[in-house]
């Protein structure tokens, strides 16, 4: 009986410690020190919040860079991948119909595309926006500028943030 009382008391204490005090402490630190990150790294375009730089969003108009295919169609509620396997007929046929034969991301919210995937789309965008070759050069410059390298030159992959790229693209006019 004595042990059961200890058990209950100890559970209540640890629950308060790890379930309330700890997350509140981190929230406090985060809101003070890393306010932007803590609240979703929101992206403000001409004074308007247009999304998060970390959460991919749907672009299907020809004038924009398209993100990777998404199993959830860029609706974050909930996130997720296709979970299709290498022997999936559906995956094979889906990919076959895609312009660049791209595969979908794991989160369904991948904010990035590879530089190669970006360059692949330039011609379509130039055409949709009726850009001349000088402007095409500017797009290519944009991609190069916005390409993020590997972290510390080693970690991860080179990538371009689609939202930032498209926002800069809109600014080109």
């Amino acid at each position: 009986m004595k042990n059961i009382i200890i058990c209950v008391k100890f559970f209540i204490l640890t629950a308060i410690l790890t379930g309330l005090i700890y997350p509140f402490l981190i929230t406090l630190i985060g809101q003070v020190a890393f306010n932007n990150q803590s609240n979703g790294s929101m992206f403000v375009y001409h004074g308007r919040v247009v999304g998060s730089t970390l959460i991919g969003q749907k672009f299907d108009q020809d004038k924009y860079f398209w993100p990777r295919p998404s199993a959830v169609d860029y609706n974050p509620l909930p996130s997720g991948g296709s979970n299709l396997s290498a022997t999936s007929a559906k995956l094979k046929s889906d990919v076959a119909t895609r312009e660049a034969k791209l595969y979908a991301s794991g989160s369904g919210l991948d904010p990035h595309i590879s530089p190669a995937a970006a360059f692949f789309q330039v011609d379509r965008i130039v055409k949709a926006r009726h850009f001349d070759s000088a402007q095409k050069g500017e797009i290519i410059n944009l991609i190069n500028q916005l390409t993020e390298g590997r972290d510390f030159r080693v970690l991860g992959e080179k990538r371009v943030n689609v939202l930032k790229l498209n926002a800069s693209l809109d600014d080109l006019r």
Binding site: L13, R150, E157
Partner: protein, 559 residues
Amino acid sequence: MKTADYLQLILYGLLLISLAPFLGTYMARVFQGKKIFLSPILGWMEELLYKLSGINKDEEMDWKDYTKAVICFNLLGFVFLFVLQLVQKYLPLNPANLANVTWDCAFNTAASFMTNTNWQSYAGETTMSYLTQMLGLTVQNFLSAATGISVFLALTRGLISKSQSSLGNFWVDMVRGLVYILIPLSILLAVALNAQGVVQTLSPYNNVTTLQGGTQTIPLGPAASQIAIKQLGTNGGGFFNANSAHPFENPTPFANFLEMFALLLIPASLVYTFGVMIGNRKHGWLLFSVMFVIFAIGLGLSLWSEYSIPITGIHEGQETRLGTTNSVLWAMATTCASNGSVNAMHSSLTPLAGGVALFNIMLGEIVFGGVGSGMYGMLHMVLLTVFLAGLMVGRTPEYLGKKIERKEVQMVILSILLPGAAILIGAAIACVYPVALSSLSSKGPHGLSEILYAFTSASQNNGSAFAGLNANTVFYNVMLGICMIIGRFGVIIPAMIIAGSLAVKRIAPASAGTFTTDDFLFASLLVGVIIIVGVLTFFPAFSLGPLIEHLLMLQGRVF
């Protein structure tokens, strides 16, 4: 693979090998009650917890008392989490106004988080309120990890005890584990991840109009605090559905590296802690090497498989910023450790890479394994190996001078048998039960892999999934919940009985007649036993799932 890919792998391995001794020694000191640099800073918190809970820290427990405390405490946590989910709608900190969780999902989730499995049949952002995530899930992330460490400590003390029944004090082990290890490390990691972009807020979800003019609801929440312990405590239950593939959980390659490192840090260090506590660091390194080698073999095989498929661009189910190498490395680390968090969808890995992930779990989560649970599971395999080796040299088997006899062997076999039985029986039922089959999203051999993976992940307390399977049904919630409980306590209780039995035995000094457990020969035998036990139990099932799928993929067949 490019140079950078190799560099990332080497960096990861080197960092793990070089940091494990430091944290390992530190943890040993913590649990031996020695002074550490945090004592002056956090000592008050330790004392306060003793005082408020009425714990007498000098009280010693034998295996029965210790086990009772473990079970009582876990049961309480289970009930609390179960009830919390059922009533979350009526409680504060639910800005998205999420409904109460269904009973079967709540049961499954409570079992899952109590057992350190963190299998998720729900999607966090659409199911769990902020309060449930914090006070329910985060709490169990901490407590299940600390429980694992405690059981490991009890078993270790049983091995080194000189004919005494005492195995330490469960409450003291819990307090020290939380105060000096899990909470400080979590704070550090949470802040670092937060700085990288992991969200940490109590504000409601954000509705935005996108650049193109569409609408998007961006979910938020106190994620950084939970993700830190989810990685450190080998829990693995994501704040969001996509787990660490989600950019809010794992925003940058650097964050990814930190999380991936945190995932193996404590399990790897605990191996060293074991070496320190038994006074034989060489043996600690031996176990570490055995784990590392098995880990590395699987990693090599999976990387080879992933990089050999001829596709352009990033693979299905993987994130652009992380790339294939990081996805595979994470997949191997998370299945070797019983973490179960994912940064890529395992179901979409090549059949062979997914198969290795599955096989890692089938081995019993002992290759580094869960926090604490990996070591006590590994010690079971060590005892089995010692038993076979002992017979082969003509002596009653001994481990660290303690005779391995009937009771120990019985419990070791039980702890291997129970999870194995849960996997096979569960998967077999699901294979013929139409309701269960209707949850499958894949046809062909991948469907069998999905079922096998689900029951393996649950029974070995991993928590990752071949997520094509819709597991949020009454059948899977209940079945997998039971599997998780069997897999956890079907190993913990035997471990405690072994600890109790070993504790009272006298220690026989080593001689030339005792085979040494810290040389290459023993290490090879241990690797052999681990793999053979895994292969013999699961090869038939495995051959009809991942293996045949791999061969069919090579033929270009689709289903």
